[in-house]
């Protein structure tokens, strides 16, 4: 028996509605705007272009990711979660959590993009979080990989991502902010769907082997469904 979700979804396996718009920024080489429920992320990709700092020792391409959070975004999720709101960081509007988020998105993109195809050139990815209601990493990865593909950067595969949170015994796929706060364990998975390759995984909390296997399977299924939607959006534009 399933309990209906707080945001009205019928079951724990239901994903929120994902909408992907492309070419939202005419100045960028590729851009996208992704809405995952109430989480809204826009992404602009510039390049490949000449790197600002030319490192002659590196012969592959460089991918740089910067995450910005607009002041009116609903919540600084990670801040509240960890209970260390820092006034100075808040002023700069660029917290340690966002730096971490940048690094995570960059890792996923570096795994997917074929950096050897643009030697000694740089791709800049700017992710702007417009509103946050859980799954901002998921939305950011989907937005960034779609924008990267749109910019004509060669990639092994599109990256897709999905999150899952455990509330009591329930495994809740694609949780909202409120569900994340209630949860006692969380799994994040980024993968390349047509390759069936896992790119990044992150687990919080204590999991049994069986439980985590089920969690990862559900995440992978979620990734595949998101992936299909992103591909449809790319083909339509």
């Amino acid at each position: 028996m399933q309990t209906p979700r707080s945001d009205g979804r019928a079951s724990d396996e239901h994903l929120r509605a994902l909408s992907v718009a492309l070419d939202t920024n005419s100045r960028a080489s590729g851009s996208s705007y992704v809405e995952l429920g109430n989480t809204k992320v826009s992404c602009a990709v510039y390049g490949p272009r000449r790197p600002r700092v030319d490192d002659l020792t590196v012969n592959t391409g460089v991918i740089d990711v910067d995450v910005f959070r607009v002041p009116f975004a609903r919540k600084r999720a990670i801040h509240v979660e960890r209970g260390r709101e820092n006034e100075r960081e808040k002023d700069l509007n660029r917290s340690a959590a966002d730096v971490e988020l940048s690094a995570r998105i960059a890792d996923v993109l570096r795994a997917c993009a074929l950096t050897e195809t643009f030697p000694r050139a740089q791709v800049d990815v700017y992710v702007t979080i417009m509103d946050s209601d859980g799954g901002e990493v998921v939305a950011s990865v989907l937005a960034a990989s779609a924008a990267l593909a749109r910019a004509g950067v060669e990639m092994a595969d599109l990256a897709s991502a999905c999150e899952l949170v455990r509330i009591g015994e329930r495994l809740v796929l694609d949780p909202t902010e409120e569900e994340c706060e209630r949860g006692n364990g969380k799994v994040f998975l980024a993968q390349m769907s047509s390759e069936e390759g896992m790119v990044q995984g992150e687990t919080f909390g204590r999991w049994t082997a069986d439980e985590s296997r089920r969690a990862l399977e559900q995440c992978a299924a979620g990734c595949n469904r998101f992936d299909t939607i992103v591909r449809e959006a790319l083909a339509k534009s």
Binding site: R120, A149, G152, D157, S194
Partner: protein, 344 residues
Amino acid sequence: MGAGVEATSEETRARFERAKTSLERAPARTTRPNAAFVAPGERIPGVEHGDFLRGHGTRAIATASTTDETEETLVATTAGVVERVNKLVSVRALKSRYVPETGDVVLGKVTNVSGKRWILDINARQNGVLQLSAVHLPGNVQRRRNDVDELNMRTLYAEGDIVSSEVQSVYSDGAAALHTRSLKYGRLKRGQLVRVTANLVRRLPQHFHRLEMDEFHDSVATGTHDVEILLGCNGYIWVGAPSAATAPRETELRREPNDAIDDLNEAYGDKVPLPQRENISRVALAVRALAELFLPISPPAVMDVFKVSKEWGVAVQDMLGQGFLTRILEREVDKRVEAYEQGK
């Protein structure tokens, strides 16, 4: 008629969308049965196992087949349209940076003047490099290889100048070495630069064109209000008053080897008469309109948009309005259908 003046109402937008879909459905002049859209990681449809040559935007991956032999399938690495020439299969991205090739005509903006060379932005992965030894000095004087010469580089091309040039060679990291060793190439003046996606400019035998405007103006000397259009392969397009780059052949013959590069510009001074200015803006906006609709840019296409904008009495400032764009799109659909009917 004032098309495009109205705020983009719901109705105009709906009409625009309708025209867009009918263009997508319009029969293409060349029927490509295998034109398919792929995203990275997707298998390219209709490619028989092992029976292909790997082109740009694809990669071959080994897949385990039922027998012990490993088979190779072709997988896309770029989001774009599948193109095939015989066995060569490649994927062309809709939007990508310019990839320089030797012999391409490119326009660039000087971003930096450094020792013995200019650094140009040419919309590619890497900057374009124009060596001091790869230019003609004005008046074709012999270059004296000394430091004074290097100090004077800014008098030739300074930061922010738009320069037309040709790709001489491409370095291993994708950077392009440029040259302007021809009277056709050099600094561009009296016009404006339009940037579009490089894919919209095809490689043509001739990239410098002079659009004749005599039919639109009465009682002026021939060619006074002509507009010159230089199509850079890198998607930078120059629209301006005619210069030596597009001088008719007779003038070229009369030219002495010692002539300055932009003698024509000097003859006119830096003045551009008002009707010509309007022509330049109109042509530039015609280019932008085509780019907005993702239609290929060629001199006949630009001239066509220019002509209809005049015919329909669209004001220069309304040329990027949804109304005008919709009508251009509808016209394109009609043209394609007509061409298809004739071909049948």
